[in-house]
């Protein structure tokens, strides 16, 4: 069940579709109609997000009375409280370690496997390809409870390296799939030339092929960084020690306990802190992220 939305490695074109057409009547009406709906949906998307931002700068009382109103005075201490007292700093640090390590490792290992699959003939190659594609298609809920047993068996529950190993393992199929497409498009003559010049297999990979795959590596790197930063299901099943919680998990705990501690402004500040890194990353790389994710998530 491979659902390749686009050949991996090929950037989806996001250019506007244009075609000549006769100037029709009622064109103005169509344009107005279009804009009404687009602005309408833009508000539906933006208002809840702006409201979270506003609420993160309000007092608790302001959040409950006429909740739609903007804050009267900006309560920046909500952020300080969320960062320190609600342990967001700890969750943030955990996420940073686990996601950074996972992304780096999965890119290196994924590139190695993809390179072998793309450019070498060997027995079992087709089976391996199908194994990776199959792993992308099967629902995680089938594996998640046995996975707990596996991780526990290795004594890796509630450890950074345990979570990193699992993240790497589950990010690997798509990384390999995407990079295999990338490596197989690189011209054969270049690696032949490298061999003729006396470079071995390793040298050819590290000094010739890997640098050429850079655009693909960047796309898949951003994709993995976002996906793993937002990962919720895996840590919820595997991480039970609160000191090792990652950001999405920490936010969920914060939301569950906000009522008892009656600190809703702190919850909103925590939400903003949790969303900020991906939003910044998205604003910088929005083109690559959109094309990478539409090519990618629909594997």
């Amino acid at each position: 069940m491979t659902l390749a939305a686009a050949p991996p490695g090929e950037q989806l074109k996001l250019s506007q579709e244009t075609a000549p057409i006769k100037v029709g009547r009622g064109e103005r009406g169509l344009t107005v109609f279009t804009h009404v709906f687009l602005i309408g949906w833009a508000l539906i998307v933006a208002i809840p997000l702006i409201w979270v931002l506003f609420s993160s700068l309000k007092t608790d009382n302001e959040i409950f009375v006429d909740s739609w109103k903007p804050p009267a005075a900006l309560q920046f201490d909500n952020y300080a409280r969320a960062w320190n007292a609600s342990h967001i700093s700890q969750y943030f640090f955990n996420s940073l370690i686990v996601v950074t390590a996972s992304v780096v490792i999965v890119m290196v290992l994924g590139a190695m496997v993809a390179y072998c699959l793309a450019r070498y003939e060997f027995p079992g190659r087709t089976i391996l390809r199908y194994a990776f594609i199959g792993a992308m298609a099967v629902p995680l809920f089938l594996a998640i409870v046995p996975l707990f047993g596996v991780v526990k068996g290795f004594g890796l529950l509630n450890t950074y390296h345990g979570l990193i190993a699992v993240y790497v393992a589950y990010a690997m199929p798509f990384t390999v799939f995407f990079l295999t497409g990338f490596f197989s498009t690189l011209p054969k003559e270049i690696s032949e030339a490298a061999f003729v010049d006396g470079a071995g297999h390793y040298r050819t990979f590290f000094s010739v092929m890997l640098p050429m795959a850079r655009p693909g590596m960047i796309s898949i790197g951003i994709f993995n960084a976002l996906g793993l930063w937002n990962q919720y299901l895996i840590p919820v099943f595997l991480v039970t020690d609160e000191s090792k919680f990652v950001v999405p998990q920490g936010l969920a705990i914060l939301a569950a306990t906000a009522g008892y501690r009656s600190d809703f402004s702190g919850l909103f500040a925590g939400l903003m802190i949790g969303m900020a890194p991906v939003l910044v990353l998205y604003l910088i790389f929005q083109k690559q992220i959109q094309s990478g994710m539409t090519a990618g998530a629909l594997k």
């Binding site: 687009l38 409201w51 792993a135 998640i144 046995p146 199929p173 936010l251 629909l298």
Partner: protein, 307 residues
């Protein structure tokens, strides 16, 4: 030139394959066996109990597992509504963004500001489901954003959305659609951009209206993308774990009106420690997903033949 090829392959692939096999392949493979045991996860040993977990689930001796079947019911409701609604809205916006601008110089242009809309509509897709779940939990609170806006209208008496069994599942549906529309809009836009321009030009020469060229050219050529979208959104509707677990009361409440199969797996795992039983539910979820995917592929294939 190819000396030491197998040594090289072994060096490069041994570690990645070991990680993949241990943490991905083996749990999937184990699931089918563990579903037939009374594994609790906390004791080192467990017994093979045959189909007892499934018998319990289906209520062969005693009442069926209400929480799981309510979950299946809700998953099926989500499956009927969420993909269709998401795809309809996303397709509508993709068509608008790409086809509905002014015709400057005889060309259909994307609408003004289309790149802004494209950036904004996609934002929900990059935020974690956990954060979105919390955001909508707060939006739907009795004194949250939605009700405080509704109360601006005189005489409005908005419900407490999440606490009322009649509206709770609706909030889940709205949240899932809100989250996914932008992604599919961008996805369909990309698919539209790949449609050969000559086809639309030919249609324009034949004096086809915009609606005609959308219905007769763009839409049929989008069919493979729509098929992919249906399967992917269907799989998501069969999951919906994070949103339900974070956003709803209980979670899964009130009165199991929002629970999903995945939440039942989570609760049996986390709260009851019945790992074998939870895995059996995972096996059922797996088969339902496979059937859904096969069914969608078949159904859409037949339509293509008819075309």
């Amino acid at each position: 030139m190819r000396q030491g090829k197998y040594r090289f392959l072994t060096v490069f692939m041994a570690l990645p394959m070991a990680i993949f096999v241990i943490f991905v392949v083996s749990p999937y493979a184990q699931a089918f066996y563990l579903a037939l045991t009374d594994w609790t996860g906390y004791t080192p040993t467990y017994n093979f109990i045959g189909l007892q977990n499934f018998a319990y689930l289906f209520g062969i001796e005693g009442p069926p597992d209400r929480f799981f079947w309510m979950g299946l019911r809700n998953n099926l409701i989500l499956l009927l509504i969420v993909p269709a609604a998401t795809i309809a809205i996303a397709l509508f916006f993709a068509a608008m963004l790409n086809l509905s601008g002014s015709t400057k110089g005889g060309q259909i242009r994307g609408v003004r500001g289309s790149s802004f809309y494209r950036i904004l509509f996609f934002v929900p897709q990059v935020i974690s489901v956990a954060a979105l779940g919390i955001m909508f939990q707060q939006v739907f609170q009795p004194s949250g954003l939605l009700n405080s806006m509704l109360r601006l209208f005189p005489g409005a008496d908005p419900p407490s959305w999440l606490a009322d069994p009649r509206t709770a599942l609706l909030t889940v549906i709205v949240t899932l659609v809100w989250t996914n529309v932008g992604f599919y809009m961008v996805y369909f836009s990309a698919a539209m951009a790949n449609i050969p321009r000559e086809l639309l030009e030919a249609a324009a020469i034949d004096k086809a209206s915009r609606w005609q060229s959308f219905r007769l050219i763009t839409f049929p050529l989008l069919r493979p993308s729509l098929q992919v979208a249906f399967i992917y959104l269907g799989i998501m509707a069969l999951d919906a774990f994070a949103i339900v677990q974070i956003m709803t009361i209980g979670p899964g409440g009130p009165n199991e009106s929002t629970t999903v199969m995945a939440l039942s797996i989570y609760k049996n795992f986390k709260e009851q420690g019945q790992f074998g039983y939870a895995t059996a539910q995972g096996v059922i979820l797996f088969f339902i997903t496979i059937v859904l995917a096969a069914f969608t592929l078949r159904a859409t294939k037949r339509e293509e033949v008819e075309m």
